[in-house]
Symmetry: C2
Subunit: 133 residues, 2 copies
Amino acid sequence: MEPVTKQFKKRNAILACLKSTDSHPSADWIYAQLKNEYPDISLGTVYRNLTLFKQQGMIQSLGTVGGVERFDGNTDPHVHFICTGCDSVIDLPQMEVPQSLCSRAAEDTGGRVAACQLTFTGTCQSCCLRKTS
Amino acid sequence: MEPVTKQFKKRNAILACLKSTDSHPSADWIYAQLKNEYPDISLGTVYRNLTLFKQQGMIQSLGTVGGVERFDGNTDPHVHFICTGCDSVIDLPQMEVPQSLCSRAAEDTGGRVAACQLTFTGTCQSCCLRKTS
DNA sequence: ATGACTGCAAAGACTTTGCATCTTT
DNA sequence: AAAGATGCAAAGTCTTTGCAGTCAT
């Protein structure tokens, strides 16, 4: 565990912010959140630390949604639903992706499979309601 | 069917280029390919037409790989393998994603599910060999 | 002192867009 | 003429990076 000194305060805050939300935020969103508590935080620091956490496997990237990279503090494999209306990302309860599929993927490519991501896209409940109302 | 006039030549060429490869190219790759046959083609035109094709559902986007959007002329649902070593994208034979998962996704979110994408990430064969050699 | 973290601003990479031009009807 | 497609370059977004300053050991 890293000591919570002034030097690591922001780093810890960035990780804590990401871990404490299920909104799968962008770097900018995290920056905006922390700006309140740390008025002098910079976007560069957020990006630098997110890159670091990613390399260390402490967080994961969802890839880009609407042109912006989105992060997930939950590194357990799980399923995402992405709303194409509002770009929100929703976690779905763990769904079993058959292990046989991973094996076949490895066979078919002749390579090594590190991960498997199942993603649904569609229209979330709010967006559905907004359209019909 | 659109007439093949001079006006549509490039548009058609862009679509044909994408449809004729399984490399899941970026806009820039398509631009480079067509630059030979159409020396005065511009990157803006490639982007504009790809956006158009996407809206019309004639092609699909894979999302960004290594910071660059990648396109797929094959709109049938299928599975992708993305190599994190060289950013290559490989099609995998259609794998059955249990329909029950889609239903559950719709139920769990209370929204509408339009599509489901299964993506494997890992190291492709060439990259595996390169590492060990 | 040395190494680590950060703010700031500049640079970079990718994509979109405005405008003038050219083509088709 | 009017509508559509394109080249070109500028603008726009998001992300990375260089450098100087600060903090911990």
